[in-house]
């Protein structure tokens, strides 16, 4: 996932550097950035905080992926129960004598998977619907904007809670529900960007060169609209992880795949005696969401230096 985000960063830098030049060739190989302008990656990596939290996020993802290999068995119950953190059990053990480090590592897999999947789905939905609405305009725009407005107006969080509760405890169902209630942010920004870019000179020249509209959309509009879309998508990862952990905390989730939220749910009755059970999963959620949000802010500063801070 870290590789993925740095790829996105690189991909987004190209159109950003290209956007100021004469257009029409945005789909060509990456041109060298203008010498006097600082590249987005340069701005991004100059911030120690951004780099630090990128490393934190990368570390969390890596640990979640590799956790099962060296983290031990999350369901083995042989250990003494309710042990506070020690050198033997770094995060202590729970009421059934399970190693808590192993449980937290396993929990992270599902939490992160949900967060990134929801963000990817939101981005896909948002980019497709937003670009169609913004670029084509007319009746398509009117209909799609009505749909976006509708999804914005429904109390998404409450409905997500009810839908997840009624439809059942499946990770995929929860991902789908969260994506359905969260995609409008990306769509709105994509629509605004597509509508703005459709008026620009390089789109006009592509049009006069006789390119078909879908081709202009794909090669001129989409790449140039990416920077704010990427920022919004990054923020979506954090929100999705927060909402998912909230649902899991309420007991809505796959009972066989405990996430950080459901660990917190299990920890609450032992708050009096075992502080570590409630501390560590929450700390993990907090660290991941904070890293994602800080990355979003830093990406925003790097990719949209003139827009200022969105949100």
């Amino acid at each position: 996932m870290t590789l993925d985000s740095s790829e996105k960063l690189g991909a987004a830098r190209t159109p950003d550097g290209d956007g100021t030049g004469p257009g029409g060739a945005a789909d060509a190989a990456a041109p060298p950035p203008a010498p006097r302008r600082e590249t987005a990656a340069g701005i991004f990596f100059r911030k120690p905080l951004a780099v630090f939290f990128l490393a934190v996020l990368a570390g969390m993802v890596l640990i979640a992926l590799l956790g099962p290999v060296f983290g031990g068995d999350p369901v083995a119950t042989g250990n003494p129960s309710m042990q506070p953190p020690s050198s033997e059990h770094l995060l202590g053990t729970d009421h059934l004598g399970r190693d808590y480090l192993a449980r937290v590592l396993h929990g992270g897999r599902t939490s992160l998977f949900v967060g990134f999947s929801v963000a990817a789905l939101c981005m896909t939905l948002g980019v497709v619907i937003g670009s169609l609405a913004g670029f084509y305009g007319g009746i398509i725009d009117i209909v799609l904007v009505k749909i976006i407005e509708f999804f914005q107006a429904i109390p998404g969080l409450v409905l997500a809670l009810v839908a997840a509760a009624i439809l059942g405890a499946n990770v995929m169902v929860i991902i789908a529900i969260l994506a359905l209630t969260m995609w409008t942010g990306v769509a709105r920004i994509m629509r605004a960007e597509a509508a703005r870019i459709a008026q620009l000179g390089y789109v006009e020249s592509s049009r006069s060169a006789g390119f078909p509209r879908w081709r202009i959309l794909a090669s001129d509009v989409l790449p140039n609209a990416m920077p704010p879309v990427i920022v919004t998508t990054t923020m979506t990862v954090g929100t999705a992880i927060l909402v998912e952990s909230g649902l899991a905390y309420l007991g809505i989730g796959d009972a066989n795949r405990p996430t950080w939220g459901s660990l917190l749910n299990d920890a609450q009755p032992y708050l009096n005696s075992a502080w570590w059970l409630a501390l560590f999963p929450g700390l993990c959620i907090f660290l991941v969401v904070l890293s994602v949000n800080l990355l979003g802010d830093a990406l925003n500063d790097a990719l949209n230096p003139t827009i200022g801070r969105v949100k």
Binding site: P155, L242, W275, R309
Partner: protein, 326 residues
């Protein structure tokens, strides 16, 4: 007709339509829920044969789907949200008992977070000291990233378990009716903090944007003191987006109440819903959802009205188009 009237009429109509859609979605969710609808409504609660027959008759489960849908919508619109399977009481009545508990926390948290966010956001936007802006911005990003139910758990651990200053859960000492103020502190703090974080971010960027406008330069060039520029020209414009944000936050507050009330065992609508979800008491779940939706829609309408009252540009648009229509 006056354009303002048309505007609010349209708003009311679209809100009503949205409520209908939400009810429809809920109805369809129950229809496609795994298992037969009777079982879905009964949940895991044990039910006798007579009660099943009675349920079939009450909900008209032998009728076709569209007919049941119409009955359901009709019942909801007349305030009949059905009957709880677990407690055998009217859902409307259950919600009426719980709603004040949720609203008192929500309203106090909303007021506190709004006042504090305006001050902090404006300070962060205007200060010349980088550390102060960094502190406020960093702090709001940090609290924006904390899951507020976990913050609640940590508050309980610190103030109830370690320090033993405040009670851990409930609304009053065991068995006592009503609300004692000590019990309200932690839920309000946990709710207000996450609200505050989001709103401070918005207020800061809104103030920065307002202070970057041309009319601010005009006001400065007239020779106004910088304080006067801020209070007379900057802040009023920075506050407009905040009206929308505060209105939208009602939805977050209500959805978040499920988490906060579960953390603190606070007997409001959210806890009613969580308990109902765990007991598969679906009529209660749907009832709370519908009531929350209505509250959110009312908040949206109020936001729109306040915006219209406060923003002179909107008022002008109403009267101008009114004249051209006349």
């Amino acid at each position: 007709m006056r354009p303002a009237l048309i505007h609010y009429g349209r708003l009311l109509a679209s809100s009503a339509l949205l409520l209908l859609v939400v009810i429809t979605v809920l109805f369809l969710l129950l229809e496609i829920a795994p298992g037969d609808p009777l079982q879905a409504m009964l949940g895991d609660a044990p039910a006798s044969e007579e009660f099943r027959d009675q349920m079939v008759a009450t909900f008209g489960l032998d009728q076709p789907m569209w007919q049941r849908y119409l009955t359901y919508v009709g019942n909801v619109l007349t305030g009949d949200l059905g009957e709880s399977i677990v407690s055998r009481r009217s859902v409307t009545e259950l919600i009426m008992i719980r709603a004040p508990y949720t609203l008192i926390i929500a309203v106090i948290a909303l007021i506190i977070s709004t006042i504090v966010c305006l001050v902090l956001g404006a300070i962060a936007a205007r200060t010349r000291r980088p550390w102060l802006d960094g502190l406020i911005s960093g702090g709001s990003l940090t609290f924006f990233s904390i899951p507020n139910f976990w913050l609640g758990l940590m508050l309980i651990w610190l103030f109830a378990v370690v320090l033993d200053w405040l009670p851990a859960s409930g609304a009053n000492a065991h068995g006592e009716p009503g609300i004692a103020w000590q019990y309200m502190i932690l839920p309000i703090v946990a709710t207000a903090t996450s609200q505050l974080a989001l709103k401070t971010r918005v207020m800061r960027s809104s103030t920065i944007e307002a202070l970057g406008q041309d009319y601010i330069d005009t006001a400065r060039s007239k020779g106004l003191s910088s304080d006067r520029v801020l209070y007379r020209h900057g802040l009023p414009n920075a506050l407009l987006p905040m009206i929308t944000i505060v209105g939208l936050s009602v939805g977050n507050l209500l959805a978040g109440s499920t988490l906060i009330e579960r953390v603190f065992g606070w007997p409001g609508m959210g806890l009613l819903m969580v308990d109902a979800i765990n007991e598969k008491d679906n009529m209660v779940v749907l009832g709370v959802t519908i009531v929350m939706t209505v509250m959110i829609l009312i908040a949206n309408i109020l936001t729109d009205i306040v915006y219209g009252l406060v923003d002179p540009r909107l008022r002008a648009r109403f009267t101008r188009s009114g004249r051209s229509a006349a």
